[in-house]
Symmetry: C2
């Protein structure tokens, strides 16, 4: 399904009133059903929905590296995705209610009190990237973001090796875009530990925790971080880079990984 | 509490490596407790938290115009806000689990299947704004967004009369910024029906539904809408305006309200 469609608009300006076609981004409600239990509905862009569902379960800690997926069936007529997991799924209601609703997506964790943050240990990964490489990869991310170019309505996210963008996603939600990337890595068996993750969106604590969970030690954004993301990155030994624009960037934590 | 703080960064560019101070936005986890039951934790900017909590409850349909608030106590040491409602609070767990997690905040409704969208009826409000007024108010919104100017890390939202911005908020989440505005209106008894709401953020279905619930018939953004927001606006008789920039804007639905 297309990520965007044309609609009729009236464009007004000091010079004129004009009837035009305008391209806008599509939004659908994806309901994730795990072992016959309805888990949640995500408002998202209608592509890579299998990756999104798996990425969401990974980010929320519902599935782990060793989890076996028995089936994964997407029904596009009612936007339901059914996932079968071999193990008993934890008490969904209670699991879900332990989560916080985040500034950007509702998938955050209450790390002020929850077990989540305690689960995460400082990363020991020694991967290094040159700043020119980060800068070039961000330029590449922007070039690939065609839906953004056409609509201005999506975020983009990419997992990058030293050489290139390895996995790329767009979504109306910056959280979803990242979940799609990590979901695709999980399904295809692509290692995340030796790579950097780039996003067009702001880096809040929730976004940082997603990266930390997948053991990605460098996270870079075109946009701003929050203080909580920065202090978590400091603690978890992640390199957090913001405002990567043109040939300039701000490194907030652990700059030894950027040469 | 301040919405932003200074941190030490390393700024890298083709010309130099420089240690600088950079101002970044603050993020805190606000836990909302209603009638002694923990409802949810929101990641947000640390101001107007009473407004945020009430606005959230309004947006989610937990409280209505006539609901009496017995107490509202914010504890800044653990970021808990306790709210007492006169009526019996509905079964929180079940209410919450009926909601969807949205692209931008997790406070969306599954209007593909839920009662939410059926609750909303087309607005009959005949308020009109000139396009110059919308354009000027958006300029004013940007001028007021000092935290954005300093950090690039927040969204802003404003409820506007024909004359001026009446209520203004900033938050790391665009949903929170809007909830703060509507919460303040509720507590201060400011009417929303005769006004327009302006936001710096994208207009997804969730954002549109927030406006529709408060019977605001004109919603304008500097940014893009989604197709679902546009079709809901069409159905609910809301005027949806996007890309208000300089002296130009795109009117997606019900342009008769813009003169």
């Amino acid at each position: 399904m297309n990520l965007s469609i044309d609609v009729n608009i009236l464009q007004m300006s000091s010079e004129k009133r004009e009837k035009l076609k305008d391209r806008i981004v599509c939004e659908i409600p994806l309901t994730i059903v795990v072992n016959e239990n309805k888990l949640i509905t995500l408002q998202c862009s209608p592509d890579k929905l299998e990756y999104l569902a798996i990425g969401f379960l990974l980010s929320e800690g519902f599935i782990k590296e060793e989890t076996k997926i028995k089936y994964l069936n997407l029904n596009k007529s009612d936007w339901h995705i059914k996932i079968g997991l071999e193990e008993n799924f934890p008490d969904i209601k209670n699991s879900l209610l332990k989560k916080a609703v985040g500034s950007g997506c509702g998938k955050a964790v209450t790390f002020n009190q929850s077990v989540y943050i305690q689960e995460l240990t400082p990363l020991k990964i020694q991967v290094k990237y040159s700043w020119e490489k980060i800068s070039n990869l961000m330029e590449e991310l922007q070039k690939r973001s065609l839906t953004f170019k056409n609509t201005g309505g999506v975020h983009s996210c990419a997992l990058c090796s030293q050489e290139r963008i390895e996995v790329f996603s767009e979504d109306i939600g910056r959280h979803n875009a990242m979940d799609k990337v990590f979901g695709e890595c999980f399904i295809k068996g692509i290692s995340t530990q030796d790579k950097a993750i780039l996003t067009s969106g702001r880096i809040s604590s929730e976004i940082l925790i997603k990266a930390a969970r997948r053991k990605v030690s460098i996270i870079a954004s075109r946009s701003a971080p929050t203080d909580l993301a920065v202090s978590l990155a400091e603690k978890l030994n992640l390199t957090l880079i913001g405002f990567v624009r043109g040939h300039r960037m701000n490194i907030y934590t652990h700059n030894y990984r950027i040469t």
